[in-house]
Symmetry: C2
Subunit: 324 residues, 2 copies
């Protein structure tokens, strides 16, 4: 069967079934990072492969930006489990035309992100390749043994999201179109900030479920719903959208937020009574706003978006790296 | 500067200098795996990137073989630190023409190696790519806090090597030439056996330094010498070579052993008085022979190969993945 027929998520399901059964206390696939038990506690382990022409375009991505983002997106996966990133290995596939100065700048970008979030790239591998490939594997620690998985959402939980949604997708589309890009949208695409500090505050409030917004808010909230067996009602008016002013026609902030992806904000669910307090603490300590955007419902209630008081199905299939 | 001018090892040195300083008790680069401290003990962390056309050719490599080898070479790195492989993530770059059945077979090969050595692949990432790329990151545990590094060799140590040298390179050259390949040489190239079980026995005898033979015996012993600040004298007559009978003209077993690479045997140094006992215990418990092939000397004595009683410089520069 062709991979385009199976799709990225179908493929992950098919291959995941071949891995075997994790022992008690470990979770291997289906979340932002694998959860492993080691003699001294729990380890979070995640990997991301970035491929030139698929995940990045050097026409508008500097090597520093690429290095920064490669580390940042992996830090985001560990943060989304409630953890702190610690050590990474980076394997590089290097094509013709990539010279030493490029790789030194790439490393400078990796170092910049690593230093900002208290972790370190400790080595890796390098090979010739026809395309530039950056493969990162990252270890992290949760606080104690508690990890925040996708599967913990309960009906009645508040649905919350950090920061702003849709900026990365808007920035990418403007860059692709060769149009002027407001600095905030450029940064959202090229320099996403992993919400590591926010999680350090947030995890004390015991969120029930969490994911980072990499596939688009609708798809990622959908992953929480799938894993938790719940539904969700989202109030479109509460979603933290980018400003429509200055966006070219055809770019709709709500669509970008729901389906755009790569925001690397955190979407989490939390017992409703603790939501306001958690949001205000995160903002007070990190400066990052947390928005209460909806409510977890029973599964049978489905996934609903309320726009101007009118309920509709939550749209947004998300991004599939195997479908062109 | 062009990467071909710097070379693989030069590049690793240049980039390694940009990583920062490891904290006390950690070793980041310069060995088979990074040594990290975690709350409950020491972690070994290693990564290898396999690229189609550079590291493997699907003309003679089945997807099962590729999956097996991708896991095996990483297990070998952990074994070479005196450790036990535990958990891996595998990121795949998948080109046009690779279908689901291929990836399922690749996973079956990964599983076969994982099951054989008590570890598990627990997930990873997948992306489109122009070339097939298999990127593995592996975690392992040493026995207690003791790891066996390259830098511990001391003058007077015996130099030992497991198994047979040169078989993988001979197998590869015959496959490339389209010539008949004896099964043992084909297996040496396509299905290298990581010496995980041998290390479980060997580490009780406290080797001073160890490396796996991936670049060729001469180059890998050279890495031990570089890291330890020692010299080495190797007796060519004691090296465990492949049988010259059946090899085509132009393939010399000694050259293949010294410079061929990818044998994934262990080369270690050990206090001379314990060498025979360690060798016989490993053989008794695993069936794998261990050969005493030389002696560690003072650095000033250089790197010497004794052939039929005549000393000469130890040849063999090893394999550089960045030089065509």
């Amino acid at each position: 069967m062709k991979l385009s027929e199976v799709g990225e998520f179908g493929l992950i399901d098919r291959l995941g079934a071949l891995l075997g059964e994790p022992p008690e206390g470990e979770t291997w696939i289906g979340d932002d990072a694998a959860v492993l038990r080691a003699p001294g506690g729990t380890i979070l382990f995640t990997a991301d492969l970035l491929v030139e022409g698929v995940h990045f375009d050097l026409a508008w991505t500097s090597p520093q930006d690429l290095g920064y983002k490669a580390v940042a997106v992996n830090c985001s996966d560990v943060a989304a489990m409630g953890g702190t990133p610690r050590r990474a290995l980076v394997s590089l596939g290097v094509r013709q035309g990539i010279e030493l100065a490029f790789l030194e700048d790439l490393y400078a970008g990796m170092r910049e992100c690593s230093d900002a979030f208290g972790m370190a790239v400790v080595g890796g591998d390098v090979s010739r390749c026809d395309q530039l490939v950056v493969s990162v594997a990252l270890l992290g620690n949760p606080a104690g043994r508690r990890v925040i998985e996708r599967r913990g959402a309960r009906p009645g939980d508040a649905i919350c999201v950090t920061g702003t949604l849709g900026g990365a997708a808007a920035g990418l589309r403007l860059l692709k179109a060769g149009q002027p890009v407001p600095p905030a949208l450029r940064a959202a695409h090229l320099r996403p900030v992993p919400r590591v500090r926010e999680v350090e505050v947030l995890r004390r409030f015991l969120p029930n479920a969490m994911i980072d917004v990499s596939d688009g808010f609708a798809a990622d909230l959908g992953h929480i719903c799938d894993a938790s067996g719940v539904g969700a009602t989202v109030d479109a008016g509460r979603l933290p959208l980018i400003d429509a002013a200055g966006l070219p026609a055809g770019l709709d902030p709500l669509e970008l937020a729901l389906g755009g992806g790569e925001d690397y904000e955190l979407c989490f669910t939390i017992v409703a009574e603790r939501a306001e307090k958690a949001a205000s603490e995160v903002e007070a300590r990190t400066g990052t706003r947390v928005h209460l955007v909806g409510e977890v419902t029973e599964e049978a209630a489905g996934r609903v978006l309320v726009v101007d008081g009118v309920a509709q199905p939550l749209p947004g299939a998300g991004w599939d790296h195997l479908r062109p």
